[in-house]
């Protein structure tokens, strides 16, 4: 049993290729998460705007992203843009575009939620000691919102890492794509069933990456109770 595992992993640099797949997954996730955080904060603050048109349009954006599966956007940008509009985007660009659109919407909603969850009285008592509106936001509301924001954002990060496996469908060699290739090669060329070991390793990789992040989220949640 174990011997078959060794064979599967050692065959044609399989293990190395899987590691490269993991590296691709991590790169895509890191880029998508950073972009989403940046734009998510901006859109989130726009969602708190006092202007109704701004609130409605950001809301519309959020709901559109939420209603439609991420995969649909992936296909939409990859196939529709190139076929119909003759815009050929690199597959990595398509992935970053899709995941940033999605991540931005989710983070924006988390930011909005965190800010609106701070009781109105906090603002009033800040004003009552003579702080200006800006000072109240900076010293009273934002620090409290940030603490409430942290667990949700960390959760979203793990979700985004896992969801990058969807880019398998447009042929980017990330972890799931590579493992699929390895399994197929093993089955057709060497007539050796490798699915158990390969997907077992994929499971382990995702676990090693996401588990610590999820742990951080838990401890943040605990520390945010006051």
């Amino acid at each position: 049993m174990l011997a078959s595992a060794v064979k599967v992993f050692s065959n044609g640099q399989n293990f190395l290729r899987l590691l490269e797949g993991l590296w691709m997954t991590l790169k895509l996730s890191a880029a998508a998460v950073s972009l989403s955080l940046f734009f998510g904060f901006i859109v989130g603050l726009l969602m708190l705007s006092s202007r109704k048109t701004v609130r409605t349009s950001t809301r519309f954006y959020l709901e559109t992203i939420r209603i439609v599966p991420v995969l649909t956007f992936l296909f939409l940008f990859y196939y529709l843009l190139s076929r119909t509009f003759k815009i050929n985007l690199e597959s990595v660009t398509v992935v970053l575009l899709t995941f940033t659109l999605w991540g931005t919407a989710e983070i924006a909603d988390l930011v909005r939620g965190a800010f609106t969850s701070i009781p109105r009285h906090q603002k009033e008592s800040g004003l009552a000691v003579g702080l200006t509106d800006l000072q109240v936001q900076l010293h009273i509301i934002a620090p409290q919102a940030a603490r409430r924001l942290a667990p949700g954002v960390v959760n979203l990060v793990t979700r985004m890492i896992k969801t990058t496996s969807l880019v398998f469908f447009i042929g980017i060699p990330e972890l799931v794509t590579v493992s699929q290739q390895v399994v197929e090669v093993a089955a057709y060329q060497h007539n050796r069933p490798a699915a158990f070991w390969i997907y077992g390793l994929v499971f382990l990789f995702y676990f090693i990456v996401c588990w610590p992040i999820s742990k951080i989220s838990k401890s943040l949640e605990k520390r945010c109770l006051y």
């Binding site: 009781p119 008592s125 004003l127 009552a128 000691v129 003579g130 000072q135 010293h139």
Partner: protein, 258 residues
Amino acid sequence: MSEDSSNILVIKNLNISFGERKVLKDLSFEVAKGEVVVVIGPSGCGKSTLLRCINGLETIESGSILLDGVNIAEGRIPWPLVRQKVGMVFQSYDLFPHKTVMENILMGPVKVQKRKPAEARAEAELLLERVGLLDRRDSHPRQLSGGQKQRVAIVRALCMNPEIMLFDEVTASLDPEMVREVFDVMLELARRGMTMLIVTHEMAFARAVADRVFFIDEGVIVESGPPEAFFAAPRSLRAQKFLNNFKFEDVKTKKTSL
């Protein structure tokens, strides 16, 4: 300064509406320096709104509010400046949970009044000592009881050296045994000559602390006067009915066999 200079606060023909509903109707009164005025009345009568508009938390429809002879209702003086002179304490304490007791208190003096941290801290410690909470200066609000939080909130307002203090039902969300410690702090303030406008439902306290009592109902001052006279023999029917809410007939002596 056309007003009598002994009056810190002069309110004239104050009107406030929430949408269609008129909350305060043509309200006028004065508060002299060092005077303690207690405002009582049924819920929703507009007494909290009255306090909130004195430090700009509600929008005024018409009328004037003169603080030290200056009309603050016109909006020419920025509210952050006005609020440095008007200390306010809320029902739900509203300490900043992410800051320690000392940081809560120093927020106004250091961030707003730009005083030297060391000097402000010394004053804060003096005030905390007075309310018996000096040893809690580095605690976070979550580590304090309701009564302690409210005493810190009072110190936070006092440390700005306000000319008048507004208390909006500050004991309404406290456990009964913690009400006393907060009232003691307020009585001490009254003794030291602080000008105070207090909204409360605690009639015994109102009677003890007030120089004058206002009874407000449906947005107007129905009756005002010294507490002894008001509580012993209210003139208006509405005040009589309101005060009766706080009286309980002794059931035991009247029990009859059924």
